[in-house]
């Protein structure tokens, strides 16, 4: 048997490794996308007081600690049956939306930007952030850095620290913001909306490029999966709180449920060849890593969120949403092309920026009433937010003293583990047949497919998205290396 090993992420023959096993004819027999790390947060969070969870679970991921912080704080609220006061909740949302702007901007410009803005045919030496800056102008580069800084500053003001915030507690937040801090955030919020506008315009102009259009609309990474994401009471995209809505590949609503009922809807499949679990829709069932309406595979993150909602919650984002569907799926059925995710991400960035603006202008945002003291006996609670990379659920069980007895975590990227694995498999099958390996483009395609998902396996092993250099080793049955391909 011939085997192809792809260590896709520089993160070493580490966090994400692909094994392609061929049959005797040289066709793809099976593809394994492995996540080789486990830290065990579900285990060692047991015995900790529930109020420690926002700080402990931050450390699941240094890229999106804000998402874990919020999910943990919400789960802790639920454990105590306490509702944070309006200002407390607004501060959490304000922090969270500012984080969204930063995170989406980073992904679009720093990680995907080189492919998209420079185009896939640009020289590799230019396909990096410096190339992007060169092309779009130093001014834009400065804007990207400023936007990142702005987001981090808002996070620091409200969350206490730039990385691993510390202010979320059961019942609300530990501190209010001052008038001066409010004014600072106000200015930053305005700049964010302006930057989101600029980004959407930039993307629209890029779509004129055929190669880009192919990435966004093309067929290579199209999977007919279910989609899942939070919607608000008006069925619009929401990040901090809402109900989970699931639609079938044809757009039919599979169901809508309160996040706390997730166990009725979601199960996770453990495989002995990877530490990461595969979530699937329980009511459809586990059919393996295949798409279609009969398979419980579902997709989350920007693509999923826009597919389930009937629109965006803010005006500028809504306008962009309408343009998105008019371009990609005029009949309103789900957009299946993974490449569309980049566009969806920018639309979400606009919503987040507009939300920052709206929240910071709320007269009550500086109210000192940011925390409610729980009165109920703690029991069990679920906290769900939309992390940039997908629906994030924290589920805690506690004793009557509020000490954790059991934890279940379904992390953003994990939801997309199945679809990512499918995309890998699809790329392999389209490029390898009867022992002939279409080496040109194999690596590019795999990488671009990955990037659309913006996978964050730091979270999922409870890594950060980075450049995705790869080595593909093709070995013969005896394990001897036949060929090694690498891209830098």
């Amino acid at each position: 048997m011939t085997r192809i090993t792809i260590d896709p992420v520089t993160r070493l023959e580490g966090h994400g490794k692909i094994e392609i096993l061929l049959d005797d004819l040289g066709n793809v027999e099976h593809t394994y996308f492995q996540i080789p790390e486990l830290r065990g947060f579900e285990a060692f969070c047991v015995g900790r007081p529930v109020e420690d969870m926002p700080a402990l679970t931050n450390r699941i991921c240094g890229v999106c600690p804000e998402a874990h912080h919020m999910a943990a704080a919400k789960a802790a609220d639920a454990v105590y049956g306490v509702t944070p006061p309006r200002t407390g909740r607004m501060l959490r949302e304000l922090l969270y939306n500012a984080f969204y702007v930063t995170d989406h901007a980073t992904h679009f410009y720093v990680l995907s930007g080189p492919d998209l803005i420079m185009g896939p045919d640009a020289p590799k030496a230019e396909r990096n952030i410096l190339g992007v800056v060169k092309k779009v102008g130093a001014e834009v580069g400065g804007k990207v850095i400023d936007t990142r800084k702005a987001g981090h500053r808002v996070i620091e003001i409200i969350g206490g620290r730039r990385i691993h915030p510390c202010t979320g507690v059961p019942g609300g937040m530990t501190k209010a913001i001052s008038d001066a801090e409010r004014d600072e955030i106000k200015a930053l919020g305005d700049a964010m909306v302006e930057f989101a506008s600029f980004s959407l315009d930039l993307f629209a102009s890029m779509l004129q490029d055929e190669a880009i259009e192919e990435i966004v609309k093309g067929d290579l990474y199209t999977h007919q999966t279910y989609y899942s994401g939070l919607v608000d009471a008006d069925d619009k995209v929401t990040f901090y709180d809402g109900q989970i809505k699931v639609v079938a590949p044809d757009g039919e609503v599979h169901g809508q449920y309160e996040p706390k009922d997730y166990r009725d809807w979601i199960s996770e499949k453990v495989e002995p060849w990877t530490f990461l679990k595969f979530p699937y829709l329980k009511k459809v069932g586990w059919k393996g890593l295949v798409d279609g309406k009969d398979s419980g595979m579902y997709t989350v993150a920007p693509l999923g969120r826009l597919n389930v909602a009937s629109g965006m919650a803010t005006p500028k984002a809504q306008a962009a949403y309408e343009q998105y569907f008019a371009t990609l799926s005029p009949d309103g059925t789900p957009v299946h092309s993974r490449g569309a995710t980049h566009w969806a991400r920018l639309i979400e960035m606009m919503q987040a920026a507009e939300t920052v603006q709206a929240l910071v202008n709320d007269p009550e945002i500086t109210s000192p009433n940011v925390r409610a003291v729980p009165t109920e006996t703690p029991t069990e609670g679920v906290g769900t937010v939309e992390a940039p990379r997908g629906t994030l659920t924290h589920h805690y069980w506690t004793d009557e003293n509020g000490v954790i007895t059991r934890v279940n975590l379904i992390v953003g990227t994990t939801n997309n583990y199945g679809p990512i694995a499918m995309s890998v498999d699809k790329a392999a099958r389209s490029l390898i047949s009867e022992g002939t390996v279409v080496t040109d483009g194999l690596l590019d395609r795999i990488e671009m497919g990955f990037r659309a998902y913006d996978p964050c396996f730091g979270c999922a092993t409870h890594t950060m998205p980075g450049q995705m250099p790869m080595i593909v080793t093709i070995r013969d049955k005896a394990g001897n290396t036949l060929k090694e391909l690498r891209r830098d």
């Binding site: 015995g47 080793t473 001897n480 290396t481 036949l482 060929k483 090694e484």
Partner: protein, 174 residues
């Protein structure tokens, strides 16, 4: 004096097939329990050999780190001794030792170290017999408990440094 102790663990025999002999570290106060030990000596009061004593000026000098160091370096149990609180040589400092003892015992217990491995007793300078009796009692208890978990011992001298793996051949194109 031997105190009957119920334990679910079977004492692990030493390598030469003798009954398990625990190694116990004992901290004493210069003014009371150390002098009690002196008195036990001058009175030729016999007690088991398993305890090794350290003299501090006051039981309140006890840093919890000393106890952890003891466990880390192979003690099967550690004993804190000091003045009776009402007769503390430094007036009120014996109580501080008590507070640290209770905090540490609970923490050790949460780390999986049996509470009986951290013991304490008071002994005034006049209580040589009491000192000997208490040592005998504790040695019996710890002997029944068996050696401290091997895992803890392993951890002690630092996690063994993993040997560098044999260098893998760098794969080059065939």
């Amino acid at each position: 004096m031997t105190a009957p102790v119920t334990t679910t663990q079977t004492p692990t025999p030493g390598p030469v097939g003798e009954p398990f002999e625990p190694l116990i570290l004992g901290f004493t106060c210069n003014w009371c329990s150390y002098r009690a030990a002196d008195l036990a000596g001058t009175a030729r009061t016999k007690y088991p050999h398993n305890v090794r004593l350290i003299r501090l000026m006051c039981s309140g000098r006890m840093e919890p780190e000393f106890i952890l160091e003891g466990f880390a370096k192979g003690a099967d149990a550690v004993i804190m001794t000091g003045c009776w609180p009402e007769d503390c040589h430094y007036r009120i400092q014996s109580v501080k030792a008590l507070r640290r003892f209770l905090f540490l015992r609970r923490t050790l217990s949460d780390l999986g170290i049996e509470p009986a491995r951290l013991q304490r007793f008071y002994a005034s300078a006049a209580e040589g017999q009491r000192f000997a009796d208490e040592i005998a009692r504790i040695v019996a208890e710890v002997r029944a408990l068996g050696p401290i978990q091997p895992e803890i011992r392993v951890a002690l001298d630092g996690h063994p440094v993993a040997p560098a793996p044999a260098a893998e051949p760098v794969e080059v194109e065939a």
